[in-house]
């Protein structure tokens, strides 16, 4: 009766003569098939399966068996609902002829759980003989989803086309025929998904997304390219903003791998890198680390380190961090220079466990000061415009200084 390929089944046992829970020894079993299945993938930690079946019932008490051999159903989550279908008459999408039938009054009396079996038995009373549409919902393990992206940047790297895919892996040991699949956003897919099958579908394709290309040096976050020469690592990022202005902003961007390609100007594309895209809420930025920019050279040195005793072991300190920057690219770029004040203090004086009380000194040369939106008291961000290298191939050396007054240190 139970097929290995169909570990999840529903059976109606006609127990006309037995109004109690006593099990009949001679059974007549009908096996209602699934009429509709919806798999809800909107919960980040759980997959909810909802299936509808048309269940033939007789007047009186009916026994409805539900079993799930070799599948990971959480029995506590199983919800059995009788819809106003077929004989209920109230269902809006009832088929022609179904609405005319008298309504069945169907009620769940109890649920019994047999020992050592992944199954349960509903006792259902029906006011008459006929069919009822029921919906059974349950959480199913090992039916997993993940997201991944493919981004194709324009040749000028000012826009890109972002395709978001959902990948569903069915290791639940249950196959589903034509099934509605919904991730909580985007379209609903109607696809079959077999046992051990992985299915990938395009959720959304966003064209002409403005992309910001950034070069960043941050000794705390990215470290050095060449420590003895004090040369900082300068990663290049693509930054996408999840807002309406950037043609996004409809839903958070899910965590997933982003593979990035660039149009090569000859009708093809070249793979330029990949990164894990973090979960990006609305209005936030997804920063994608594409690769290291070796043509932007940043040399960082401590140019000044002095302290003045205020009293006893109490000092005010003065630190100047110097950045010598060269852009060997043939186009102008903007470099983001990021520094943690606390990391600078720790680098020079060790970590005393206290926050740093600091002020920006007059010798700071970054035009416009720190980025007001993105800087915090603990981390400063400056933007530096770098001209393209000269016609002679030489890059202009641009020097900037970060002048900090650290107060009340001990």
């Amino acid at each position: 009766m139970r097929s290995r390929n169909l570990p999840l089944w529903l059976a109606i046992v006609v127990v006309l003569a037995l109004p109690s829970t006593a099990l009949a020894r001679i059974k007549l079993i009908t096996l209602p098939v699934r009429e509709r299945v919806e798999i809800q993938l909107d919960n980040p930690n759980a997959t909810l399966v909802e299936e509808e079946r048309i269940v033939p019932l007789v007047r009186g008490v009916n026994q409805v068996d539900f079993s799930w051999a070799n599948t990971q159903i959480d029995p506590g989550t199983i919800v059995f609902r009788v819809l106003g279908g077929i004989d209920g008459g109230a269902r809006a999408d009832a088929k022609a002829g179904e609405k005319d039938r008298p309504a069945l009054d169907v009620k769940v009396l109890s649920v019994s759980y047999p020992p050592n079996e992944p199954s349960l038995v509903w006792q259902v009373s029906s006011s008459g003989s006929g069919s009822a549409r029921v919906r059974i919902s349950y959480l199913l393990g090992n039916l997993n989803k993940s997201f991944n992206y493919r981004a194709i940047a324009a040749n000028d790297e000012k826009t890109l086309v972002l395709s978001e895919y959902i990948r569903i892996q069915n290791l639940a040991n249950e196959s589903f025929g034509s099934t509605g699949l919904w991730a909580g956003f985007g379209p609903r897919f109607l696809k079959p998904i077999g046992i051990n099958e992985t299915r990938e579908m395009l959720v959304e394709k966003y064209a002409e997304l403005p992309v910001k290309k950034t070069y960043t040096c941050d000794p705390g976050a990215h470290g050095y390219l060449d420590r003895p020469q004090n040369k900082l690592l300068v990663p290049m990022h693509y930054v996408l903003k999840n807002d309406k202005a950037s043609h996004l902003g409809a839903a958070p961007l899910q965590y997933g791998k982003v593979r990035i390609f660039q149009e090569d100007g000859h009708g093809g594309t070249a793979f330029i890198g990949e990164d894990w895209g973090k979960f990006t809420p609305l209005d936030d930025e997804m920063r994608l680390y594409v690769g290291v920019a070796q043509d932007v050279v940043v040399k960082r040195t401590i140019d000044k380190n002095e302290q003045r005793r205020v009293a006893g072991n109490l000092y005010d300190r003065e630190v100047v961090v110097k950045f010598e920057i060269e852009n060997f690219k043939d186009k102008a770029v903007v470099l983001d220079v990021s520094e943690s004040v606390r990391a600078i203090r720790n680098e020079l004086y060790g970590d005393n466990g206290r926050d740093v009380q600091w002020e920006l000194g007059k010798s700071t040369t970054f035009a416009g000061g720190p980025d007001k939106e993105k800087s915090t008291f603990e981390k400063l961000l400056f933007h530096v415009s770098l001209p393209a290298r000269g016609a002679d191939g030489k890059a202009e050396k641009i020097v900037h200084k970060l002048h900090l007054l650290l107060k009340n240190e001990w």
């Binding site: 109004p19 109690s20 829970t21 006593a22 919806e38 809800q40 909107d42 919960n43 759980a46 909810l48 909802e50 007047r59 009186g60 008490v61 506590g76 989550t77 919800v79 009054d105 009620k107 769940v108 009396l109 109890s110 649920v111 019994s112 759980y113 047999p114 020992p115 050592n116 009373s125 029906s126 006011s127 919902s137 959480l139 509605g180 919904w182 909580g184 609903r188 958070p252 979960f279 809420p281 609305l282 209005d283 936030d284 009293a311 006893g312 072991n313 109490l314 206290r354 926050d355 740093v356 009380q357 915090t376 008291f377 603990e378 107060k407 009340n408 001990w410």
Partner: protein, 476 residues
């Protein structure tokens, strides 16, 4: 399959010297009176069920030995009691014997002054039967109301099958000094080694509760002539407990469990609140459904036993979204039910440190050092001192971005160890001596920074360990 039980072998030997003498004979004739009624009173806080069963037994004048045995079950032998419900004045239990080398068996020697039938009642405790509650809530699409169903699930692993039993469930915590499962494992010989207090103390509360209550009318109610309805679960308070009585009788087979609906409430209103309470929910802002177990909320007829609540929401696509499964504690009538749905990706909650500074610096003088340069007159004097007291000021902006389509209510609790002044214009109050609580409303699509300054007095200035609230404007 019935593993055991019981009752009674009524031995009709020709010589009635004593019960023990009868048992010494090699040729026995027994009758096995069957159960007439059985009632299970199941406690969910302990592995304890009080079984009360009645049987009809015919007695003859003189001594009537009754054998009661419970092989392969989990009955506590110290709890077995016999009472006569009819002809009480003509029947007496002369003695109770636990025979040697026959575990899980006893004999009652009943002296009868009558010749006829009597109804007897046998009560005992057994382990292995339990019950639990669980709930399913399905919220509407707009998340203002939900349909709540409560269920009770009875699990029978006692080794015995109870057919057509009246089932009563006790909500509450009783006190036991010994586990019934332990007592079920001891031999009858060990019974007498138990102190009286040990035998009786733990039984008192339960027996008072359950023994004196008659079988309810529902148990004897005839089967309905019309379509069978889901059974009603009658609820009534009793002292510190609540008793749920399931209508009619139930058969719960050994090894099986059975789940029945105990509560149904449609359109229960609830509120949504966003909370930051690290001690309770971790370092994250979580979304809560807040319900009240009262009549205004279409509940409030009974305390809600502890159990798992599974919450779904209509997803607007003719289906459900699973939101959370959460264990809730016993909820008295009138108390709140708080369901934590976890973080909401559409509400961003960041704490930004805007500025830090120190003042109120105190130095401790530790004498002076005197220096003299060789070849030069005079000396240099330096006073030695170190910082021993100061005040750390930190200005914070609690940044909240509401990307939902509804206004949200926000409640934040933050704990500050040490001697702290919390300075802000926010509606703030002390939750406890070192925790402040403030609230805010954030409109749809609004981004706000809730500003406050924390002053932490350190060193010799740390004269207290509490938070003082000062209402004052703060600026970045």
């Amino acid at each position: 399959m019935r593993r055991l039980l019981i009752l009674g072998t009524l031995v009709l030997g020709t010589v009635f010297l004593s019960a023990l003498a009868v048992r010494a004979e090699n040729v026995d004739l027994s009758t096995v009176p069957s159960r007439n009624t059985v009632q299970l009173t199941i406690y969910n806080s302990e592995d304890l069920t009080l079984v009360r069963e009645t049987r009809k037994v015919t007695f003859k004048p003189g001594a009537n030995p009754l054998q009661f045995s419970w092989a392969n079950t989990l009955i506590d032998p110290t709890s077995v009691e016999l009472r006569f419900l009819t002809n009480r004045e003509k029947l007496t239990v002369l003695d109770t014997t636990f025979p040697h080398a026959k575990p899980q068996m006893l004999y009652w020697n009943v002296q009868s002054e009558m010749d006829g039938e009597a109804t007897i009642e046998i009560t005992y405790f057994t382990s292995g039967i339990s019950w639990s509650a669980d709930y399913i809530g399905i919220a509407g699409r707009d998340e203002s109301q939900l349909n709540l169903e409560g269920f009770v699930r009875v699990n029978n692993n006692s080794g015995e099958e109870y057919e057509d039993a009246q089932v009563r469930l006790v909500v509450g915590r009783i006190n036991l000094v010994q586990k019934i499962a332990e007592l079920a494992r001891i031999t009858p010989q060990q019974v007498t080694e138990l102190g009286v207090a040990a035998r009786d103390h733990y039984r008192v509360a339960a027996v008072k509760l359950a023994m004196d209550m008659p079988l309810s009318d529902a148990a004897a109610a005839p089967a309905p002539a019309k379509q069978e309805e889901p059974k009603q679960v009658a609820k009534e308070g009793l002292g510190e407990y609540f008793i749920y009585t399931i209508e009619g009788t139930e058969t719960i087979r050994n090894g099986w469990s059975k789940r029945m609906r105990s509560l149904e409430a449609a359109k229960v209103p609830f509120k949504i609140q966003y909370r930051y309470r690290p001690a309770e929910y971790g370092d994250q802002l979580v979304r809560m459904y807040l319900l009240t177990n009262d009549k205004d909320s279409k509940l409030g007829t009974t305390p809600l036993p502890d159990g798992v609540v599974r919450v779904f929401r209509e997803n607007g696509r003719d289906g459900l979204s699973f939101l959370v499964a959460q264990s809730v504690k016993y909820t008295p009538i009138g108390d709140k039910i708080e369901l934590n749905l976890g973080p909401d990706p559409e509400v961003i909650f960041d704490l930004i440190k805007l500025r830090t500074w120190r003042d109120n610096l105190w130095m401790q003088l530790q004498g002076a050092s005197v220096f003299k340069k060789v070849g030069e007159p005079g000396v240099a004097v330096e006073v030695n001192s170190s910082v021993v007291g100061w005040s750390d000021h930190t200005l914070y902006g609690q940044r909240v971005r509401n990307h939902t389509k509804k206004p949200i209510d926000l409640e934040v609790r933050r704990t500050f160890p040490g001697y702290v002044v919390f300075r802000s214009e926010l509606p703030v109050k002390n939750y406890d001596y070192q925790t402040v609580e403030y609230t805010a409303a954030v409109k749809p699509a609004e981004k706000i920074d809730l500003m406050y300054e924390v002053v932490l007095h350190q060193g010799r200035l740390a004269k207290q360990n509490n938070v003082t609230i000062e209402r004052a404007p703060v600026k970045p």
